[in-house]
């Protein structure tokens, strides 16, 4: 059945070949319902007296709202309720606040000003969808159109209009900087030594996920002051938590039903329709449906953000890439949503699957007056991978080397040090390239054919070099003067072997009671205090594989303390999430940021120490 060919001859000694699932065809768990037309999507749930919700949306990219006149709409037939920004109990949110990342910056219903075309400014609930639409057309908004900015590099110039008041410089904050830095070795030195310098720019446009089922939700009052919500979200508990926060209610009052998604691909994690539908049910006491139409899906449905990448490579005459510099811009649109995280993912991914001894990158999460961007399959990685692999071909052309051989030459070998200071392991790009060449009947040299991911590392490749760091691009500096967005020359050198330069500390928990309670989790030792006692920086023994450092774990982060770990007592080094990469940017010696503190603490739903008030246990893995 399967057309996949498994090359089990490669790395045969590294693997037990007794998998029960991998390599075996499986029937999708929900396919029977889908192909027989029996799957019930959220819109298949029927309610008596269902009301319909529609938004009055901004026709402008950027405008101040002078006034909203809904008096005509209020008198129209079928109109049950006008929902204004003041009706939203907690009308400011950022999606990742649920894990304490970023500041609240996005209203559910805009008041004061709009920052992208299609932003909702008023909501109308009526007996029929047509009545709701007609009433929306009758609302008069007095707009004061403001200058807008749609390009990432225009947006970070001095004097660019401020898109998002929460981030007045049009960039998300990363520590003290307006961009995420990654520094490893000294790229300037590499460029001086290089035989070729290869530079190019790559640009990816936003992409809409375009699900067949547009985003939407139906909410209805349930007994005991609870609200039921049928939704097409792909992130059911994330949506539940976001709804609880925006509506300032305990999550225990919400009963979300979903999981049958008519197409998601990242476009259904933004949790915009669920809070709106539940709010509608709260305000009217009746079942309310909020469903985007196709135009809304295309206009306000958050896409994969646009990206711009500039890559500059220092290459020796024989094709070794000895330095690589990135300048990356993610277009977050008007609000953060998940883009701030895409930058972290992207930085952790650099410089691609290649061992390069000198790497520097500046990546910007930029706010523009475009539709906010969000998740889409592999976001943060896909764009830069496209750029990197295009660039590899360009390097191959410049140096005059076969593109597959260039990749084999520069691939990570097991034991190589990566720029974010972890050792590469389970590398397999060399073997992939060899198999691809073989399958495509692409001739490669004997040397490339005999290369292996297992051999080729060295103590030099396994070590952290002297690293040049700089202080350019502090938050707000770009407002006052034009600063080259590319990585600046180093002004200081962090000595070789430094794993975590400076006194970079993890942000503490937002509130003391968010610390995991070891006893409640069934642990024998207070794991949080154990983690904090781990040394922050330990020079590595050259070439020796490093254990995963639990020092990276933030006790407050949701990734800590998985339920599996909680179930079985782990006395020594508990609950270090193995997949978690460290914060990739070694910045220079400065005390850590003041931890994020919301003005108003989150409403508690489940009052158990260490348990998020919004989410059930399933997120805590």
């Amino acid at each position: 059945m399967s057309s996949v060919e498994f090359r089990k001859d490669i790395f045969a000694d590294e693997r037990d070949d007794d998998f029960n699932e991998i390599g075996k065809p499986r029937i999708r768990q929900d396919i029977l319902g889908h192909v027989t037309g029996r799957s019930r999507y959220y819109d298949d749930h029927l309610f008596d007296g269902l009301l319909h919700m529609r938004c009055v949306r901004s026709p402008h990219h950027h405008a101040r709202i002078r006034s909203v006149d809904a008096s005509a709409a209020e008198r129209m037939p079928g109109v049950r309720r006008i929902v204004r920004p003041s009706d939203v109990p907690n009308n400011l949110n950022t999606l990742l606040s649920l894990i304490g990342f970023g500041r609240d910056d996005e209203p559910l219903i805009a008041s004061g000003k709009v920052a992208y075309r299609g932003e909702p400014v008023l909501v109308i609930i009526a007996e029929t969808e047509a009545q709701a639409r007609a009433a929306c057309n009758a609302v008069r908004v007095d707009w004061e159109v403001l200058p807008h900015v749609l390009d990432v590099e225009e947006a970070i110039k001095p004097g660019a209009p401020t898109v998002n008041e929460t981030y007045p410089n049009n960039t998300f904050d990363y520590g003290r900087f307006d961009h995420q830095k990654l520094r490893f070795g000294d790229v300037r030195k590499a460029f001086r030594e290089a035989a070729h310098v290869v530079e190019a720019e790559y640009q990816m446009s936003p992409i809409e996920q375009a699900p067949v089922e547009t985003c939407g939700a139906i909410a209805a009052p349930e007994t005991n002051d609870r609200y039921l919500c049928h939704t097409g979200t792909q992130a059911l508990f994330f949506s539940l938590g976001t709804t609880a926060k925006l509506l300032d209610m305990p999550s225990s009052k919400l009963h979300f039903i979903g999981g049958t998604v008519g197409g998601g691909f990242g476009g259904k994690v933004d949790s915009l329709t669920e809070p709106m539908a539940v709010l509608g049910a709260m305000l009217t006491g009746r079942p309310v449906k909020f469903q985007w139409d196709r135009e809304e899906e295309m206009q306000v449905g958050a896409p994969r953000g646009g990206e711009r990448w500039r890559i500059r490579d220092a290459v020796t005459a024989d094709g070794h890439i000895i330095g690589r510099e990135f300048t990356g811009f993610f277009d977050s649109g008007a609000y953060t949503r998940l883009s701030s995280y895409a930058i972290q993912k992207g930085t952790g991914h650099l410089p691609g699957p290649y061992w390069i001894p000198n790497v520097a990158s500046n990546i910007y999460c930029v706010f523009t007056n475009r539709t906010p961007a969000t998740a889409m399959r592999g976001f943060g990685i896909t764009g830069v991978d496209f750029a990197i692999e295009c660039h590899m071909d360009r390097v191959a052309e410049t140096v005059g080397i076969d593109p597959i051989e260039l990749r084999i030459l520069n691939s990570y070998r097991d034991g190589d040090m990566k720029p974010h200071r972890r050792l590469a392991k389970n590398c397999a790009l060399v073997e992939c390239c060899q198999v691809v060449a073989e399958k495509a009947k692409w001739p490669i040299s004997q040397e490339a054919r005999s290369a292996s991911s297992l051999a080729g590392s060295s103590p030099e490749r396994a070590s952290i070099p002297d690293t040049a760091v700089d202080e350019e691009g502090k938050i707000g500096d770009r407002r006052n003067r034009e600063i080259d967005p590319a990585p600046a020359p180093g002004t200081k050198t962090v000595p070789a072997g430094t794993r975590q330069p400076g006194e970079m500390k993890d942000a503490g928990p937002q509130r003391p009671d968010m610390m995991p309670d070891a006893a409640a989790l069934g642990l024998k030792r207070d794991q949080a205090s154990a983690q904090r006692q781990m040394p922050a920086a330990a020079p590595s023994a050259r070439g020796a594989p490093q254990p995963v450092a639990p020092a990276q774990v933030r006790p407050a982060a949701p990734a800590a303390a998985p339920p599996a770990a909680a179930a079985q007592p782990q006395p020594s080094a508990p609950a270090a999430p193995p997949a978690r990469e460290p914060g990739p940017a070694p910045s220079t010696g400065q005390p850590a940021e003041v931890p994020y503190q919301p003005d108003k603490p989150f409403q508690r739903g489940v009052r158990r120490p260490g348990v998020s008030p919004f989410l059930s246990g399933s997120r805590r893995r």
């Binding site: 969808e129 639409r133 057309n137 139409d293």
Partner: protein
């Protein structure tokens, strides 16, 4: 609240038309507007009169206004229009969309009408009157009349060319469409553009140039030079008016030269 009224004949139905009324045929345009609550639709009028027949009458082919794109593809009499019908929508749309409805399709739709314009079709109304298609299109959006049929003289073999340029193939809407009737056997040259104005429009300067030249790279140069004269393309999500003006002559040249560049 939208009311739907059904009449036995088109003549009765046309008496019920007013500013807030729309006539329902295949529904591929109207039902989208109804679903999206486009303001101004309060009354929908239908007629049960069967007008789907396609038949030859003398030199002309009569196409009932309710004939669908699929009917046009399947009828022997309209073989010359089959490639045009195939360019309209996808199979589901072609199954419902009617010839009469296409006459009223707003830009960038209306590829079939573009072809009819190049073929000098005649429009027949429920009140028995008839009108040249160009006259009809010029006042299309102000009139309140129901079309019952179209009559069109089949072009001489090889003298009719049609091309639809769209970004999504095979069923995307047109960036522009071009229909050309080459001058032959006493028929004058016609060049009609779709999506290059509020309705399909003739490029009369180019037609005049085409009627006094031969079809080769050099011969058509004067035609191409004036290709967009008199056209009024608009910006939409598919293309800007600037882009449409830039590419229209290129596509006309390709069409005239039969795919040669």
């Amino acid at each position: 609240m939208i009311t739907v009224e059904t009449f036995n004949t088109h003549r009765e139905a046309s008496s019920a038309l007013n500013d807030r009324t729309r006539f329902l045929a295949g529904g591929t345009l109207l039902m989208r507007d109804v679903n999206y609550a486009v303001p101004g639709i309060e009354h929908i009028v239908r007629s049960l009169e069967p007008l789907r027949t396609i038949r030859s009458e003398g030199d002309s082919v009569f196409i009932g206004a309710a004939a669908t794109m699929l009917d046009v593809i399947n009828a022997r009499e309209t073989a010359f229009l089959a490639p045009v019908s195939r360019a309209v929508g996808g199979p589901a749309i072609r199954n419902m969309a009617t010839v009469g409805g296409n006459l009223f399709a707003p830009s960038p739709f209306g590829d079939f009408t573009t072809a009819l314009l190049a073929l000098d079709a005649t429009i027949h109304f429920a009140d028995g009157r008839q009108e040249e298609i160009e006259t009809f299109l010029a006042q299309r959006d102000s009139g309140r009349r129901i079309v019952t049929a179209i009559s069109v003289a089949p072009p001489l073999s090889g003298s009719f060319l049609f091309s639809k340029i769209s970004r999504t193939k095979p069923k995307g809407p047109a960036i522009l469409s071009i229909a050309v009737r080459l001058p032959s056997g006493g028929q004058e040259a016609r060049i009609a553009f779709g999506a290059m104005g509020p309705t399909p429009l003739r490029a009369k300067a180019a037609e005049a140039a085409l009627s006094r030249t031969r079809i080769d790279e050099q011969g058509i140069a004067p035609v191409i030079a004036v290709a967009t004269e008199g056209l009024a393309p608009a910006d939409d999500a598919l293309a800007s008016q600037w882009y449409r003006r830039q590419v229209a002559p290129v596509h006309l040249k390709r069409l005239l030269l039969g795919g040669q560049r």
